[in-house]
């Protein structure tokens, strides 16, 4: 019998992560696109790091950082009563870092492709940066925003290494679908494992299908 808890937990994690990521990534991508500071290339490289870094490396350092025995973890616990190792909150922070490039890059690419004259026209029409961002820039990169949303959500669903390192395997707290799958394999329950695996597989396929359809439609000039 398939257990639903890991699915609910995974869905919750991916939703919270995606929403927070979106709020963080729009200003970050905006800054990366329009800033003239050279340091942006360093920031861009850091943002993209999770793309090529083994997740266990990221997880390992986060585990160290979050540990109450170390300065950062101690600080969080003392001042905010927050523990990030082996907790759902810790998974959210780790997932945000892990999926950051999947949200930032599509938005950044979308903004880069818009002609600068749109921003300049908006300024000469008396509008400030925020109005320009909300009424001109974001509505014109809708396809990129949808891609960013879908990819970040899916990437968070597919996490394994980082979750295992930072969250462990605590039912209803950190045991997401990919961990549950690993657990079932360890216990030789292949049938159960297969149910988890098939669900993840179908989800990943549908996600990519949506991304390609959205991009295809926008190339045809259809309004989404």
């Amino acid at each position: 019998m398939l257990q639903w808890d890991p699915f609910i937990l995974t869905f919750k994690l991916a939703t919270v992560t995606t929403v927070i990521l979106f709020l963080l990534s729009v200003p970050l991508a905006y800054w990366l696109t329009y800033s003239r500071y050279k340091i942006k290339y360093v920031i861009e490289a850091l943002v993209s790091l999770p793309l090529i870094l083994p997740p266990s490396v990221l997880g390992f350092y986060l585990l160290l950082a979050f540990s109450p025995q170390n300065a950062f973890g101690k600080f969080l616990e003392q001042y905010f009563d927050l523990r990030l190792v082996f907790t759902f909150e810790g998974l959210i922070v780790a997932s945000i870092l892990y999926s950051l490039p999947f949200m930032v890059q599509p938005i950044h690419n979308g903004l880069k492709l818009l002609p600068l004259s749109l921003v300049e026209a908006s300024y000469t029409l008396g509008k400030g940066r925020l109005t320009t961002l909300l009424r001109v820039l974001l509505p014109n990169i809708r396809t990129s925003l949808i891609t960013a949303f879908v990819l970040s959500f899916a990437h968070t669903v597919g996490e394994f290494g980082v979750v295992l390192m930072v969250g462990g395997n605590i039912p209803r707290e950190t045991r997401v679908v990919s961990i549950a799958l690993y657990d079932e394999v360890e216990a030789m329950n292949y049938e159960q494992a297969n149910l988890y695996a098939v669900t993840l597989l179908l989800f990943a396929f549908l996600t990519l299908l949506i991304v390609y359809l959205v991009n295809y439609r926008s190339r045809l000039g259809k309004v989404i």
Partner: protein
């Protein structure tokens, strides 16, 4: 009166160039910055609207300083009373014609001007169309109308007709003259089309390599060769 005196080092495809221009325009004039591409014309326009900054200089409009590098004054584009038509029109693709115009409205500015301009530019029928569905000439008119919505004192046109064919150019030139008169604008046009310059402007500033090399009435100062070419074209 608009007084401009600006200097800036430019790095173009042709190498380094020192932009160094000084000119005065009276209110209500329609003047042209004429010259080959790379002469620095567009850069002058961009500095007038605050989209780029000179290394040093002054821009004052009706005695009010918009830019004074010595006093560290540099008004943002939002605070300069200016309308500009970009070379690529820069219409917002997500907004309809009418919404593009409405976007330009100042806070608390009545919306009547939008309908007035739509009618004047013969765009009323197209008001609910997105820019991608419009022809070049129609886009051009929307861009012109949008630049006027805030009733600026100065209108800047950056080679506004370079992408249009001759018949359309003549039509757009009429629209430009009409808004220039009706809204009592001071208009600065950047162009390298000699017919356009003669038809539209009272005065021409001839630019080359970042400097104004002469100025005066269009037929007085335009190179004789260009005038001959134009006569040739007309006869054709």
């Amino acid at each position: 009166m608009i007084e401009v005196s600006i200097k800036k080092k430019l790095f173009s495809a042709l190498g380094k160039m020192q932009l160094d221009v000084e000119f005065t325009i009276q209110e209500g004039e329609l003047v042209t910055l004429y010259g080959p591409s790379g002469a620095g014309k567009t850069t002058v326009l961009r500095m007038l609207c605050g989209l780029s900054s000179p290394d040093e200089g002054r821009i004052s409009v009706r005695g009010q300083p918009w830019l004074d590098s010595a006093k560290k004054i540099n008004l943002k584009p939002q605070h300069r009373d200016i309308g500009i038509v970009f070379q690529d029109y820069a219409l917002f693709p997500n907004l309809t014609v009418k919404e593009n115009l409405r976007y330009a409205l100042k806070k608390d500015q009545p919306g009547a001007i939008v309908s007035e301009l739509l009618e004047m530019m013969e765009l009323t029928n197209l008001h609910d169309k997105k820019p991608e569905l419009l022809s070049g000439g129609q886009r051009q008119r929307v861009a012109l109308a949008r630049a006027i919505v805030r009733k600026p004192k100065i209108l800047l046109l950056d080679e506004p007709m370079s992408a249009l064919d001759t018949t359309l150019r003549l039509k757009i030139q009429d629209y430009i003259l009409r808004v220039h008169e009706q809204f009592k604008l001071t208009t600065i046009l950047v162009s390298h089309d000699i017919m356009e310059v003669i038809r539209l402007s009272n005065r021409v500033f001839l630019m080359d390599h970042g400097k104004i090399i002469s100025h005066g009435g269009p037929t007085e100062i335009l190179p004789i060769e260009s005038l001959k070419q134009m006569v040739g074209k007309l006869l054709d």
